[in-house]
Every structure is written in structure tokens, then in C-alpha cells.
Symmetry: C2
């Protein structure tokens, strides 16, 4: 996920465009089948043609861990961010070998490191299935609607990808239900790590510098896709171009933005501002504090907790930034105007009616369900395994069309992989998160709430976490495999306390999900389709949908911005790192990086900014030039992009990328990888 920094409370956004209206400036996370070529040509005097777009699409990789990437050699080599592979480095480390801390260079392909749970996916086809899905929905409402919709989706996905070994099908809802598209992916479920710099080289400045610019971060790494134990052949790939970006040149960022909320209604934003963001920031901040202190207890805990802490801190900055954006009256007024405009244009269309009122009602219903939904899911890796095993056993006993999303035939292979892949579980850390989540559940639900009592019985959060985690064998992948393969009989026979806990919670979780389908998701799907109709009627079809962690392309240019009267330059240089270093974490130099100071070309372009419109999920996306070559990997937004979840401001929002020039310098000088240099150079 890209990360974002704290919004200054007093800051307001300059020339915010209307999200619901046609996009302007460099706004937009466009689908490939909706690429606004005319608009790009008008702005930049040139636009990619179909062949350019097709080649790029075929090179673009989605990583199931939540990131984006691209093929950069014919042998399955993948460029992405360091922070997208940190979990892989972490999972491959132990107290003796800390690949996260020290970085990793595979001196030959056989030594590339398997990444647990990671899968690489390339879109091969996009099919419009709107008529199929809306036909199945018909005039249904509530839970009947979500059931019929999900059944049709399961059917389309199964029909589209009979070979689940190498393909994955996913129906994606666009425009809140205005469109349904079937995405077919070529998938590679064996992904290995080839090269990563030291953690501090990528995270220089740490959380304080996250979402800031100027920035000095080597947030890049290389993976490789394998199949049958061999690197896959990827004749279609981007050409590696280790050059510095030029001010004003057009750039494209191709990747999978995770989610945006630009088409939300006022009541959806109100729910976010009044309910979800406050509880999220308060509870995650406490988790952050618990983690920071626990990691102080020993170097081992510092290592074992580091991956979670950086995730928590990154998310927290996003949520705090969003809180700032939704608390900025100038920003929200613009969003409200966009809604008012759409309402006015749709006022006389009887077929559209008043979907806003329906959304308002759905949100009112959701407010009553939200805390139970949120807090009846304890935070623990072992609990997550148990829950997936229990639900998988229960769901697999049903026909495909009746299963919950995530357990249909098309989704099961990835679910299975994520449950069965070997990865470490640290009991102290798992207890820490479970204690925290159970204590927050009791706090927000109330001591006397039946859900609190279901979660805790007469135990304290600490006791329950300790009993379940110390008593569980689910850290062992063989135990998980036996339970997965054994199905419901094995689950019911299990005396694992975490399995029993997951079994005990499941009925209430299902009840809540059903209530949410009935009162919230179902009505939202109906209203969403109406809102999409209204939008297309009002503004035509030159719109981009909200992000859905599916492939998008954004266009923009290499460009700084003006911050409190000062011009922020387009890039930093590697030499600047040494000026900024204080010797103290997180402004300490990575040892190998420091050792190579004399060899590093100080003028090498390090990180740079563009006006491309991206968001979390875009991390690792290639930054592509007019020639179709890759000149960087996007890894962050600037502080002004924090409101980007709700609306884009072209004067201030920036993408932050690490340049291929800097990565090349690192490959040649700091963490030498001559084989990769040759491979990237096409040798």
C-alpha cells in the first residue's frame, strides 16, 4: 500500500476537481478499456495507442499481498517496492539471519527466496458481464439480491477459469454496481525474492518521513515468478530504462489502486467521519503504542514486531490524513457541491428516483451493525487461520453458488495457499494483537453486550488470548493442512482451542453478515446502480470508476509543487541522503549504503514526483515514459494526497517514485547484483 503523511490541520486543498463530474487535470485511475486518449492528447499533445496500452497491460503485475509491480525481463523478473516484499524478507528471517535488516541478493537463481502467501497475476482479458449480473439480480432486494448476485458471480468466475491452476477469474463491481466486469488473470503462485536493499535504505526517515518529500528512499526490490520450479517466460515485459526523469515529461503509472471513495454520497462520508475513522484512529494508535513499547523489550521482539509496526504506522497516517481531509470544510464543501450538481441534473429522471435517500437509510442501518461487525473478528494470525479453516470447511460443503465470497471454486485456491503457506507466528505478538482487539471489543461494545460475552466469557482479554494461543497448534502448517483436507469432520473433531473458538464465533459472524447484506449491502447495490445511471446520464461515459484493486492507468507529468510559497523540486539525489542523516534512527544510514558513500554517484536522481493520481495498492507500480520504458517505481504520495481517497487536487497531489537510475546505481555499486544488471540490460 502506498503510504501517506499527516495532513496539516490548517491546510486546505486548492483546485479540487469534482469527483462525480468528468475528470480534469491529471485526475483519474482509468480502466484500460476506458482510457481517455483524447483527453491525454489534448493535455500533452500525444497519447498512447492501442498497441502501447496492450503491451503495458501485459507487463503489469498484481501482487496479492496488496501491491503492484511489472515484468522487466523475459525471465519473469518483477520490479516492485521494498515495502511490498518486507513481509517476505521478514518471513524468511530468524534471529540468525535477518534479511529484512541486511537486505538480500540472490547470487544465483536457485537461492531466490520463496514468498509465503504471495501470488503474481497478469490481466489477460476483461469481459463486460453487467447484463448477466443485473439480469440475475432483477428486482430482488436485500439479502436475496446479494445471494443472487454472488451466485451469478461464482458461476461466471467458474465458467471463465476452468483451469484454476494457472488462471484466476474475478468479477469486479464498478461504479458501485453500475458495471460488472469479469477479469481473467494468468496467475503465478510461486513468487520468489531476487534482490532487496537493506531495510533502512528503503525506510530512511521511517515513519516521520513517510508521505513526505523531498525523500531519500530506495524503496525498490525484485521478485521473480516461477512455475514448476522454473522461472516463467515473460516475453512481454517493460524495458528497463535507468535514466533520470525530465521535468514536465509525460508519465504513466500502471497498477492496482486499492480503493477510493470518490463516488461516495454525503451520508457515506458522514459515516466515515463520524464513526469509522474515529474508532480506527483511536484503536490503531493504542496498538501502535503497545507495539512500540513491546519491541523495546528485546532485539528479538524489535525484529519480530517490525513488520506489523510499519504496517500499523503507515495505515494510521492514512487514516489520520483522511480524518484531516474530511474535517476540512473547504474540501468537503467541494465534494458536497459535486453531489448537489448530480442531484440537480437527475431531479427530473423518474427512472433514477432518489438513490441518495436509499443510501442514507442503508448507512443508518449500518451504524447499528458496524461495531458488532468490526469487533467480533479478533486480531490474531492463529485466529485468522482458524476462522478460515472453519469457514472453508462449512462453505465447501455447499454448492458453489451458495458459498460466501472467498470460498467459491474460483477463490478457493488463493485462500488455500494463504492458509497453508509456511510462515512464522510469534506467540507474544499474536497475543499482543489479540489482547488488544478483545479489550477494544469490550470497550466499544460494552461489558454487558452479548457479543462481548461471546468473545470473552468470564475471562479477561489477556487470559483468553493466552489460553487460546498457547493451546493452539495452528502455527504448524501440517496441522493446518490436515484440518483443511479433513473438512468439517476434522474441524469438529479438533480439540484445538482456537478452532473451537472460531467455531463458537462463526454463527454470530454469519448472522451479522446476513444482517449487513439485508440492510446495508443489498440496498447499497440497488442504489449504487441508480447512482451510476444518474452519473452516466449527467456526464456521459468518460468517467473513471472508484478504485477496486484492479488494473488502472493514470497519466501525468514529472512536476514539483508550491508549498507555503516554496517550490518543491522534482527530485532528490542519492548524495542528499548523507546530508540528511543524523546517525540516529530512523535517520541513520544503512551500513552498506554508508560504506559505499565514496563509490555512489551523489548526483544520481533518487526519488522524484509526478502528478499521477494514485492511492494505496499502487505501491510498486511502474512509472512509464512515452516510449513505454520504465523509469521508476511509485511508492508513496505526498502529504497533500491524503484527501485523495475522496477527491484529487492536481495542484498539490503528487506521486512519489524511486527512479530506475537509483536502483541501477544500487545494483551496480551498493548491493552488487551483476546478473540482474545484465538481465535488466537485455543481455
Amino acid at each position: 500500500m502506498t503510504s501517506r503523511t499527516i495532513l496539516l490541520a490548517a491546510a486546505s486543498l486548492g483546485s479540487l476537481s469534482l469527483a462525480a463530474a468528468p475528470a480534469s487535470a491529471d485526475e483519474g485511475m482509468w480502466t484500460f478499456d476506458g482510457f481517455p486518449a483524447e483527453q491525454v492528447r489534448e493535455a500533452y499533445g500525444w497519447a498512447p495507442d492501442a498497441a502501447w496500452l496492450e503491451k503495458v497491460q501485459n507487463s503489469a503485475v498484481r501482487l496479492t499481498g496488496g501491491c503492484s509491480a511489472s515484468f522487466v525481463s523475459p525471465d519473469g523478473l518483477i520490479l516492485t517496492n521494498h515495502h511490498c516484499v518486507a513481509s517476505c524478507l521478514f518471513d524468511n528471517s530468524n534471529d540468525e539471519t535477518d534479511y529484512l535488516l541486511n537486505g538480500y541478493v540472490a547470487d544465483r537463481r536457485e537461492r531466490e527466496l520463496k514468498c509465503p502467501g504471495q501470488q503474481a497475476e497478469v490481466v489477460t482479458m476483461i469481459t463486460d458481464v453487467t447484463d448477466d449480473v443485473t439480469g440475475a439480480i432483477g428486482t430482488l432486494t436485500g439479502e436475496a439480491l446479494t445471494k443472487a448476485r454472488d451466485a451469478k458471480i461464482a458461476e461466471l468466475e467458474s465458467a471463465g477459469c476452468p483451469d484454476t491452476e494457472t488462471t484466476r477469474c474475478q468479477v469486479v463491481t464498478l461504479f458501485g454496481g453500475g458495471q460488472y466486469k469479469l477479469y481473467t488473470y494468468r496467475k503465478y503462485s510461486d513468487v520468489r525474492l531476487a534482490w532487496a536493499p537493506e531495510d533502512r535504505a528503503a525506510t530512511f526517515g521511517g515513519d516521520p518521513d513517510n508521505f513526505n518529500f523531498p525523500r531519500y528512499s530506495l524503496d525498490a526490490s525484485f521478485l521473480r515468478a516461477y512455475e514448476n520450479g522454473e522461472p516463467v517466460s515473460t516475453p512481454e515485459h517493460l524495458t528497463w530504462n535507468p535514466r533520470a526523469p525530465e521535468e514536465g515529461e509525460i508519465t504513466f503509472v500502471v497498477g492496482n489502486p486499492g480503493s477510493t471513495a470518490r463516488l461516495w454520497t454525503e451520508s457515506q462520508r458522514a459515516f466515515e467521519r463520524e464513526v469509522r475513522l474515529p474508532v480506527t484512529v483511536a484503536t490503531m494508535s493504542e496498538l501502535r503504542g503497545r507495539l512500540i513499547r513491546a519491541m523495546d523489550e528485546s532485539p528479538q521482539k524489535a525484529r519480530e514486531g517490525g513488520d506489523l509496526l510499519s504496517g500499523v504506522e503507515n495505515s494510521l497516517k492514512v487514516y489520520i490524513g483522511r480524518t484531516g481531509a474530511l474535517g476540512d470544510p473547504a474540501f468537503t464543501a467541494t465534494l458536497a457541491e459535486a453531489e448537489a450538481d448530480l442531484k440537480a441534473r437527475s431531479a427530473n429522471d423518474a427512472a433514477i428516483g432518489d438513490p441518495w435517500a436509499a443510501v442514507d437509510q442503508a448507512l443508518a442501518n449500518y451504524r447499528a451493525l458496524y461495531f458488532p461487525l468490526r469487533f467480533t473478528q479478533p486480531s490474531s494470525d492463529l485466529y485468522s487461520y482458524a476462522r478460515t479453516l472453519v469457514f472453508a470447511a462449512q462453505e465447501r460443503a455447499k454448492p458453489n453458488a451458495e458459498r460466501l465470497p472467498g470460498f467459491t471454486d474460483s477463490a478457493l485456491p488463493l485462500t488455500e495457499k494463504q492458509v497453508l503457506d509456511e510462515r512464522p507466528v510469534y506467540p507474544w505478538l499474536d497475543k499482543l494483537t489479540m489482547e488488544w482487539s478483545l479489550s477494544k471489543a469490550r470497550e466499544y461494545l460494552g461489558v454487558d453486550d452479548p457479543d462481548s460475552q461471546l468473545l470473552l466469557g468470564k475471562e479477561s482479554p489477556e487470559q483468553r488470548a493466552e489460553r487460546l494461543i498457547d493451546g493452539s497448534k495452528l502455527a504448524d502448517p501440517a496441522v493446518r493442512k490436515a484440518l483443511w483436507d479433513g473438512g468439517m469432520a476434522a474441524i469438529e473433531a479438533s480439540d484445538d482451542p482456537m478452532i473451537q473458538y472460531a467455531l463458537a464465533l462463526a454463527p454470530r459472524q454469519r448472522e451479522l453478515e446476513q444482517l449487513a447484506d439485508e440492510q446495508y449491502s443489498g440496498p447499497l447495490a440497488v442504489a449504487g446502480a441508480k447512482l451510476a445511471d444518474a452519473r452516466f446520464a449527467a456526464y456521459g461515459d468518460t468517467l473513471y470508476p472508484d478504485a477496486t484493486f484492479t488494473l488502472r492507468i493514470s497519466y501525468g507529468a514529472v512536476k514539483g509543487w508550491t508549498q507555503r510559497g516554496n517550490e518543491v523540486p522534482i527530485h532528490t539525489t542519492m548524495g542528499g541522503t548523507f546530508d540528511r542523516a543524523t546517525g540516529n534512527a530512523p535517520f541513520d544510514l544503512a551500513p552498506a549504503f554508508a560504506a559505499k558513500q565514496a563509490q555512489i554517484d551523489a548526483n544520481t536522481t533518487y526519488d522524484f514526483v509526478t502528478t499521477n493520481d494514485i492511492i494505496g495498492g499502487n505501491s510498486g507500480s511502474p512509472v512509464i515514459d512515452r516510449a513505454g520504458t520504465v523509469i521508476g517505481a511509485a511508492f508513496d504520495g505526498n502529504i497533500h494526497s491524503l484527501g485523495g481517497n475522496y477527491g484529487y487536487d492536481g495542484t498539490m497531489n503528487r506521486t512519489v517514485a524511486v527512479s530506475t537510475a537509483a536502483v541501477q546505481e544500487a545494483l551496480e555499486t551498493i548491493y552488487p547484483a551483476p546478473a540482474l544488471v545484465a538481465e535488466l540490460g537485455g543481455e
Copy 2:
């Protein structure tokens, strides 16, 4: 401070009255010179007369630790809450003797425990000095205004209390500058603890039950005021009446509500919602997490961190509750209506003009200053000592009229007492808070901000905290005394790193305060006086001012409420505690309490609720019946009172008090104190 519980996000307040309009129902924290006798008589068919009010005023005690209390015997015996003396118990404890955990019963007066920093104060006179202060202000604005005002206040306070040994004078600003009153107090700076139950008896249910009702808490204790080593004589005191409250009977709560914001304008509430509350909740939640985890590291840390953690958790619930209230559109709409009504009524009054616009501008200015003001004050006991010592030395060198508030002749004695009283400092805990506050400063100000660099230099928050705290001798009261007595020469000669740090920060802190006076406080004082004029013109003078931690009286009745269709009863019984206990913290029974189960009369009224309008600072306030006898000590509000900072809802807001009947049972049976029983019984 009274504490408040989490506001359910979906809850909205029922019949909220208009804060700016005359108070209705049982609303109001009334000054004694503005007691609404007619209103009370209309509602309850009876109202106290002047003699009743005078007797009660003479018995009411303010505790400088932030609580309220009352004299309940002729020998200076003071009833207050347990949570108001927790710091005293804590400061008197060590690893061998934990008075907080075990409670404390002084078997004779000589063994009563001195409470560091604590002072008891009784109002003896209230003088209207509005003309003096507004005369000094004249037509001044900005910093000139605040300087002239503060100089006049210093002068009035000095003139009013030439004897600073036994009296204290304080000018209080009411109605945001509409009135200034000189409060004269008889003060008792030697306050000792006579009786306290086990901590768990008072905190049964802990943070989860805080702000909840039904409640089972023995949140009571007794202090005694001393002078010249002897208990003071207090012929005027409340009569102890250990009886159960009766449903519907009239009750009065007399105490010192800390602060309310019921007269705030929309832009003040917007600042709270958009800036102050979000940063407060996020940062305090992280502190909470750091503390919880650190206290897990050893029983010693659990003991030493406990007092801070309960304070943090209590405050956090208040701030989270306020966030909920200000995020509730129904609640805020009522507040906005009140403002619109006052504006409409004042529209044609040229003398009033547009003070709202002036407040808006002051708040806009404050937004730019707020983070620097907030974050250039590190959180550390040793730093606080250092800062006070540095400022006291600098300020005492000036004429009284030119000093900062807190350092005038009238304020210095309490400041000195708080700096010089002996109390433990725990280095690990002081480092924890300092690390936290410095790291939050860097996060919110930004790494490259000059204030961040002033606070940290090139050190990390952890390094700076460790160097300053390990290197400082300020934990020793003798060292502090030498620096206090030595004045500026001693400060400048000191090589204590914390003193040097406080000296280094002081100029920037002064600069920021000056900017705030110029751009925020000064303009607010002018606008506040205009708003008060508008209010008096529109609604007459039957109004109550916002709370200011000065003596107030509220009236109400013993009354339950309806919660989601269920009637909440007016009281709990002591026997109910045993039903609620789970054996696990914080629902574990205090050992002595548990041991006496067979002896305790299970039907004794324990805690009860009334409609009195109170807020933090009222903790420990006597609940007084029509006869003027004390039947309880207020210690909390219910969850619906969370929005009480901004407006009062008589249908839902409740005061929670511990009954004198329960305290009597505890004195007789659980923590036997026969001498106190006799003293309370008038023997």
C-alpha cells in the same frame, strides 16, 4: 475529574436544551450569587433560602488537585472521592507498602498521610470586579489587552489577599469576559489522608465500567485539613446522613466543575472537532498503549504506572465521548440553532456588532499556532519541574503586574508548593512520557520544522529523553528548593541538563504565548465580552456561565432514565457487586471487600443517579438533600452525559454518586474506622 464513558456512535441526544438560551429542566452549573431560586421552586415546590445556601457554601471544599469535596465534621474532616486521593495514596506508596492497592485507615490522627501538592480551599467572599478589569482593558486589543487585563488581575488578587499564608485570591473570568469576579478563599495547604478503601473497591469494573451505570464503586475517601500541625476547626460543615436516597427527591450537587464549552461559537466547536480532539485522541491512545505494555513488564511498573494510566484512560473516554457528541448531527444542529437564535436577536444591536466574525478570525489564527503551542511542551515530570523553576526565576524578577499568570504574588505560593512538595519520580515512566511526547511533536510538526529541531536537535526522542532524565537531579526536592530559592543566578549556574533544556525552550514558548495572546486570546476576550452583552440583552441575566473550576451548585432529583426501552433503576446495592464479579481484573473483588461478603448488608444502597448537571472537576462533590445533609459523593456521569461539555440533555444525562449509606457500611464493616464513624455521627 469526573469521568465519562464512550458515546455510542448511533446515539443521539433527546431533548437537548439550548445552552445559550435560559436553562431549562435541571440544567445549569449555577454560581451561588446567581442561584435560580424561583426556577427551582417552580420545578420542585421548594427552594433553598439564603441561610441554607450560605451554610453549604461554607462547607464546600475545592481541592487543587482538580476535585471537589466537603467538610463533614467540626475537625476538618473532608469527604471526597477515592479517585481524587489516588495520587496521594500512590505518592505515599512504595514496593513494600502499597496503600493504593490495599487502602489505608489511619488508626489515629497522627498517622494520617500527607498529600503532596494538595491544598483545600473554601470560598469566603465573591466580589464583582468587572468594572475594574474592563476599565483597565478599555479599548485595548491583542497582546496589549491581555497584558493590561492580567496586570489588573494581579493587582486585585494581591490587594484582596495580603495574607498569602491562609488566603488565596483568584479573579475568575465568567461568560468569556462578560464578568470578572474576585474569589477569596480560606486555604489549607496541609491536607492529609484519613481513610481510603482498597483501590479495586473504588475502581471495580475499571475502565470498562467507567461512565457506566448500573455501577458498583466505593469511590469515596476522607481527607483532613491541617494547620500548624493540628486539624483545623470547621464548625460549619455538612451533616453526615448515611441514608439511602429516595426516588424523586430533590438533590443539590455543590462543587467545582472544571470547564464547559456551552457558550462556544460554531467556529470554536469546529476547531475542537477538526483539530484538537483528533490529535488528542490519537496521541493519548498511543500513550495508553505504551503504558499498558510497559506496565506488563513487572509488578513494580504495574504499580508505578497505574496512576497515570487511569488518568489517561479516563481522559481518553472523555475525549472520545466528546468526539462522538460533536460528530452527532442531531446534537450539533441544536447547538447551531442556539447560535442562530442569539445572532438573530442581536442583529440590530450596533453596540454588539459581529463578535462571531471576530471569534472566527481568532480561531483561524489559533489553528496556525496550535501544534507549536501544544508540542513545544514535553510531557515529563522532571521537565515540568524544570520549566516551572526557570519561568519562576524569570518571572519573579519582574514587577507583579508584568508576570505571567501562575507567577503573580497571589499564585506563587501554590506554584511553589507544587514544585517543592516531595513526591516520587519514576525514571522509566518519565522517559516513557517524554519519548512519546517528543516523538508526537516530530510527527505533528514535521521533521524539518524548526520547533522539532529545537526539541530534538540531532537526537532521537529516546536518546534525548534518556540523556535529560538520567542526567537530571530534579527528582530531589532539595535540589528543586535550592534552585527555587536561588532564583535566576542558580538557574543560570545549573548544569542540570533538564534545566538547560527548559532554558533553551523558554524563549520559543514565550514567543508562541505572545503570538497566541496577540492573535487569539486578546481578540477572544473582546469578542467574549460582546457575546456576553448579546446574551444578557437577549435572555436577561438568569443565565449560568460556563464552568471555570469555581464553586457552583446544580439542582436535580434522584431519577433513573430509559435506555433502549429499558428503565435504568436509580441505584445499585452492595450485594450486586458479588453477582457482577468474574474473578478477573477489573471485575475481581478487592480482597478485604470479598472477605467481608457475609458481614456486608447486601441491600445497602451503593451507587445512585440524579439529574444534576455536573462535569469533570465535580468529582467528590457532596450530594445534598433538602435538609442540607450529605447523602452521597458524586464521582461520575453516565454515558449520555458525554456531550455535557457542549449541552445538557435532562432526559438522559445523569450524575453518578456513591451513597453515604455505602460509605457508612464500609466504615463499619469492611475497612473499620470506629473513630471516623463516631466523628461523622457527631460524637
